[in-house]
């Protein structure tokens, strides 16, 4: 029988490296973007985001000039998609509707005509942004508490519910860390910003993060009573092997769908889908390679202590 739990040192090392890399990405992002470990979108801090589609090729500097002429110092201007798309994204401070209108008109005359039907703009007052950010923090807190409650409920029948709970939460923390690190990296490379949808994806990942753990732990519970003579490590290993097909099959299906959206879906939800994809991948890893082996370490140590006491 393949011994999965035996390789736990390797798994812990990989998890450690991934968490370290994530921290590096978050710190680099914080240094690059004035203390923002994740680049914050206008949803949370206010501002205006234009996605402009021009009917002809235009120069970035010409776009910049129009914004500066309207008192928008330092707009962040990025090309979207291929050069032939003539699509640009501009981020700047809050602008009211009249100001937006004037900017669009000036872009028409001084840069190139903006195809309104293929463009969008979104503007948020800074005070709303701050309130949304507060709500978001609250949502994350509630989600974390709810998941804790759920773990407590799910493991009420296993021998050491506290331990099962703690290792699940450790795994979840590692998972969230890796997801955040990935987003920070994409923020540095691709300019991805943390918006309301990003938060939705993270909360979804948190919600799903205990699913695989629960299935394995459920099986451990069943196997403990069935194979009383086996050492705990064997039981755990057996339980993982018995459930791994299901874990992988389920993950694969979710991944098929997410990859399809990533490849063929609209550009606006790509970061959203990518976060869920990464979160789910890392969830499978942290469940099987962090949560379960941690549990083994904890239970075995106890075992040794009991044996030592018996020998003395």
């Amino acid at each position: 029988m393949l011994n999965f739990v035996q390789h736990r040192r390797l798994f812990f090392t990989i998890a450690g490296i991934l968490v370290a890399l994530s921290l590096v990405a978050l710190v680099v992002s914080a240094i690059m973007f004035d203390g923002q470990a994740l680049r914050i979108s206008i949803d949370f801090k206010g501002g205006t985001l234009f996605t402009l589609h021009f009917t002809e090729p235009v120069e970035e500097s010409a776009i910049r000039d129009v914004f500066i002429a309207h008192g928008h110092t330092g707009p962040i201007i990025q090309r979207l998609g291929a050069v032939a798309d003539n699509s640009w994204q501009v981020r700047t401070r809050f602008a009211d509707s009249e100001e937006v209108q004037q900017i669009l008109d000036d872009l028409d005359t001084q840069v190139g005509s903006v195809d309104r039907a293929l463009s969008n703009w979104n503007t948020v007052e800074p005070t709303v942004g701050a309130e949304v950010a507060r709500q978001a923090a609250l949502a994350v807190l509630v989600a974390a508490l709810a998941v804790l409650g759920f773990i407590w409920y799910s493991f009420r029948k296993v021998p050491h519910p506290f331990r099962y709970g703690v290792v699940s939460i450790v795994a979840m923390a590692v998972n969230v860390m890796i997801t955040l690190g990935f987003y920070a990296l994409m923020g540095i490379l691709q300019g991805w910003e943390a918006d309301a949808l990003f938060l939705t994806a993270v909360l979804t990942v948190i919600g799903f993060s205990v699913q695989d753990v629960i299935v394995v732990f459920d099986r451990i519970r069943e196997n403990i009573s069935r194979h009383r003579s086996e050492p705990f490590e064997m039981i755990v290993n057996r339980s993982i092997l018995e459930t791994v097909q299901r874990s992988l099959a389920t993950q694969l299906n979710a991944m098929f769908v997410l990859v399809a959206i990533l490849l063929f879906g609209g550009t606006t939800i790509k970061p959203f889908v990518a976060v869920m994809l990464v979160g789910m991948l890392s969830e499978t890893f942290t469940s099987l390679c962090v949560a379960v082996p941690l549990l083994v370490v904890w239970e075995e140590r106890e075992h040794h202590r009991v044996l030592a006491r018996a020998a003395a």
């Binding site: 589609h53 009211d96 509707s97 969008n120 703009w121 979804t204 919600g207 459920d218 299906n253 606006t268």
Partner: protein, 466 residues
């Protein structure tokens, strides 16, 4: 085959037929749409409702902008909402939504709008109160007709001198001369007339305007002075005596409510509460159409891969799961039309993700079934054990998903994040439907298959992926 299995099988077939009809057909008879009593009568239909991000449009979020220390009156908020709604409806666009969000916000959504800038102006514009003098050639009867039919009139307010001259020179001119506007008011409140106890609106002018009003009324005795709101005549009282105090009453066909609404409107300009635009979002209509096209394509690709995977990996069981999954997709789409659920891009992602998760329940069952078969159980017993043993895991993982959706929904509701809510709703709906299709439908299909082909399958276990 057991009688119970047969009954469920027939019911499932019927349900499938209903779902196929509801989802695929474009035209629905009136008697059918009239059955949808929970939908507002005017817009009862069996069409997909697309969110702003899919059909383009404008979303404006406004917040009550009260001076510090003033408390917000929910009644006044509702009045403000109604006024905004009137203005938005005046744009003549299809299905605008004007809702109060939380205690102090109003959200306006106008799908498929071509000129968002104009719409924003219309929403923000404050209504105009004018005191106007009817032109000489307009009789009282005509004024009453204009008033009762609520026909807008033209007034000199905001016009240049030359334009007024040119207009007045025409013999059939219907131009009303603006004497004063709402900007001259100091206060307005409801009171009852002492004799008839009919509700009237009492107004008080600011001191300068009061002097002007006193002089005007003394020089125009016996003439009519019309009170006009947003170019609609509200009443045309006759000046019976000079009014030196700067106080007057507006008499009209009021009940207490309409009088207080007018008083509020007069007091605060148009809106009972000053509103400030907090955020707005404009999405080009063609952009939305492209998003729909891409989402549909992504959805089909994702679904086909999931279907193929289940079929190849679990063979006969996979076929049962695929059929159940087909019904799952149909039921979801049907409910989106029935409830109706407004579809957004994240909403579609939530639905597709729920498809990926939907097979999870089946996978749990099938893996369990295979295990039982490996342990030498008979086909029928392995199948039943698969379903009953996997149930706790299925229940727990679905519960976790529903919990997540609930948190997301509450979070999305806290501010106007319709995108977050869209995702939460489709994912939750999918999870609930999944409990039905993955357990009841798949189980029935497998019982039917095992019941009729049991012996053959027992000899050829490879059809179950063993």
């Amino acid at each position: 085959m057991e009688r119970r299995t047969l009954v469920s099988f027939v019911l499932i077939l019927l349900l499938t037929a209903v779902a196929v009809y509801g989802v695929v057909s474009q035209q629905h008879p009136a008697w059918l749409t009239n059955l949808l009593f929970w939908q507002p009568e005017a817009t009862r239909n069996l069409d997909f409702q697309l969110g702003l991000d899919l059909q383009g449009g404008l979303q404006v979020l406004m917040v009550a902008d009260l001076p510090a220390g003033q408390t917000l009156d929910s009644q006044a908020m509702e009045t403000a909402r109604r006024i905004v709604e009137k203005r938005v409806n005046a744009l003549g666009l299809t299905e605008p939504v004007v809702q109060i969000q939380g205690a102090e916000r109003i959200v306006v959504e106008i799908p498929g709008i071509e000129n968002p800038a104009q719409a924003v102006d219309t929403i923000r514009e404050t209504a105009l109160l004018e005191f106007v003098e009817p032109p000489a050639n307009v009789t009282l009867e005509m004024i009453y007709a204009l008033e009762s039919a609520q026909i807008p009139i033209s007034t000199t307010y905001g016009m240049t001198e030359e334009a007024i001259q040119a207009q007045s020179a025409m013999t059939d001119s219907m131009l009303f001369k603006t004497v004063m506007t709402g900007a001259d008011l100091a206060n307005a409140f409801v009171t009852r007339e002492s004799q008839t106890s009919q509700p009237v609106v009492a107004i008080e002018f600011q001191s300068e305007a009061a002097d002007f009003f006193a002089e005007y009324t003394s020089t125009h005795l016996g003439k009519n002075l019309c009170i006009v709101l947003d170019k609609q005549i509200i009443s045309c009282p006759r000046i019976d005596s000079a009014i030196p105090s700067g106080q007057a009453t507006i008499q009209g066909n009021f009940n207490y409510e309409s009088a207080s609404q007018l008083a509020v409107q007069l007091q605060y300009g148009a809106l009972p509460i000053p509103l400030k635009i907090e955020s707005y979002k404009a999405i080009g209509p063609s952009l939305g159409a492209i998003s729909v096209e891409k989402s549909v394509r992504a959805g089909i690709v994702g679904l086909v891969v999931v279907f193929l995977f289940m079929l190849i990996y679990y063979r006969l069981n996979g076929l049962a799961a695929d059929l159940a999954l087909g019904l799952y997709v149909l039921l979801n789409l049907l409910l989106y039309k029935l409830i109706p659920v407004t579809l957004t891009l994240p909403g579609i992602a939530g639905f597709l993700l729920s498809v990926g998760m939907a097979v999870d329940a089946n996978i749990l069952v099938f893996e369990r079934m295979k295990e039982e078969l490996r342990h030498g159980r008979s086909l029928a017993r392995a199948a039943e054990a698969g379903f009953s043993r996997a149930w706790t895991s299925v229940r727990d993982s679905n519960l976790a998903t529903l919990l997540t959706c609930l948190i997301l929904f509450i979070f999305g509701n806290a501010f106007a994040a319709s995108l977050v809510k869209g995702f939460a709703i489709t994912l939750a709906l999918g999870t609930l439907i999944n409990l039905f299709t993955a357990i009841v439908v798949t189980r029935t299909l497998i019982r039917v298959a095992f019941g009729s082909l049991g012996d053959w399958i027992q000899q050829h276990l490879w059809v179950l992926g063993l």
